[in-house]
Amino acid sequence: MAHRGFIALALLLSVAGSVFGAERLRFWNLTGVTLNELYLAPAGTTQWSANQCKNDRDGTVDHDERLTITGISPGQYDVKLADKAGRVCIVQNVEVVSGRPYAFSLSDKDLTNCTK
């Protein structure tokens, strides 16, 4: 009986956590450039999210700045980004994780597939 009670409590806490305490996911820009567009799509698809940079106060993400990501759950994603100079890059199979201060970061060495 006590065991059932414990399971019920755990389920309740889990549901409450997902409803009321959805974890904030954040991207950490460690590239050397300022970004003005950033989209995520489930890995291998082109179902791009809305431009996440619009979540920022000034609509851009500077070097070393964090950006809140919305409408995305932890998982494997392709990331498309554009910098202020007009360069567009796609980074494949990026792991978006929860439970730490930033969900994912990208640095210059990740930007190998770019066009302008």
């Binding site: 106060r57 070393d64 201060p101």
Partner: protein
């Protein structure tokens, strides 16, 4: 046959040496914000002596007055780590308010003034009492912190408001707001307390503020052949004690500007590592160390010769730097 007797002066020297111990070598301490570590280097040989794991996202670092403790803004832990520099162990952290990025130690050695970027506050931390004893509302996204040499005035810069806020340390009230260029990052007092130099990262300038009049008396601009203006982003500022020279870290321009601090003329640009942000002198100010966040190294500048003599790899995303005497 050589004498086996030891002369009195020689014996005295040996005894003194045994009593005092060998002098401690200066060390350079660097915070690595992605690696979550502090790199410790010998300031002369530049050898990496050790790498110390600390809290999450270590950025601003400050030495205690006795140079036995390093205070570390552990931004993602919302705390100030306390690193004992004798045995390199972490002691109980200090409170900081949310997301501490930079801070300054008051000349009394007892209080830290912390920028809390998310809350538009400066938090005052009493080190002995281990608690936040005051909060001062300032502009949006506070960042740079500078304290006058006599401890009377605090200057905080707010990135979004583009102001340098002068705070009376007796009343903890903002007494003047000085408008500077966009996104001020750092406030540096001259050693005589007469001026405050404030860098503007987006504005691309350094404003020289008369500390008594609280007005900008000069604005320093930068131009580097072959480098686009938008890449010139001043952050770290440091002046020699004699106030002859100033050095300004220019971010993604990968240069440190050398400025005649009397005439405000930019004399030269020194090529360093990628995205240079923060600066620290060694004790006799013969060397200047820079943190280069993208190339993951520090550059070493010979101050007298005004040239870069070496770069040394450190941890992932180096941010802050201090030199321990």
């Amino acid at each position: 046959m050589p004498s086996r007797h030891v002369s009195a002066p020689c014996l005295a020297l040996v005894l003194v040496s045994l009593l005092v111990g060998s002098p401690r070598a200066e060390t350079v301490l660097v915070s690595n914000e992605k690696a979550n570590t502090i790199t410790v280097l010998d300031a002369d040989s530049l050898a990496v002596l050790r790498t110390v794991p600390v809290g999450q996202r270590p950025r601003g670092i400050v030495l205690s007055r006795d140079a036995k403790t390093l205070f570390i803004c552990a931004s993602d832990d919302d705390a100030i780590d306390v690193l004992d520099l004798d045995d390199y162990t972490l002691k109980e952290p200090l409170p900081s308010g949310p997301d501490p990025e930079t801070f300054a130690l008051h000349p009394d050695g007892l209080h830290l003034y912390v920028s809390n970027e998310d809350d538009s506050l400066v938090s005052i931390v009493d080190i002995k009492q281990r608690r936040v004893i005051g909060e001062i509302p300032v502009g949006v996204e506070p960042e740079g912190m500078g304290i006058s040499p006599d401890g009377r005035w605090i200057v905080n810069t707010s990135e979004t408001t583009s102001m340098a806020h002068f705070i009376d340390n007796d009343t903890h009230q903002v007494v003047a707001n000085v408008l500077v260029d966009s996104r001020p990052r750092h406030a540096e007092w001259t050693s005589d307390g007469a001026q405050v130099w404030v860098s503007a990262e987006v504005g691309g300038t350094v404003s020289v503020i008369d500390a008594s009049k609280r007005e900008v008396v000069h604005k320093i601009n930068f131009a580097i052949p072959g480098v686009p203006d938008e890449a010139i982003q001043p952050v770290g500022v440091i002046l020699t004690r004699d106030r002859k020279w100033a050095f300004v870290a220019l971010g993604p321009a990968n240069r440190v500007a050398v400025i005649d601090a009397q005439t405000y003329e930019v004399k030269r640009y020194l090529l360093v590592g990628q995205r240079v942000w923060n600066l620290a002198f060694n004790t006799d100010q013969s060397r200047l160390f820079t943190t280069n966040g993208i190339s993951n190294d520090i550059s070493v500048i010979d101050v007298a010769a005004q040239r870069v003599v070496k770069s040394v790899p450190v941890g992932d995303q180096p941010w802050g730097v201090v030199v321990r005497p």
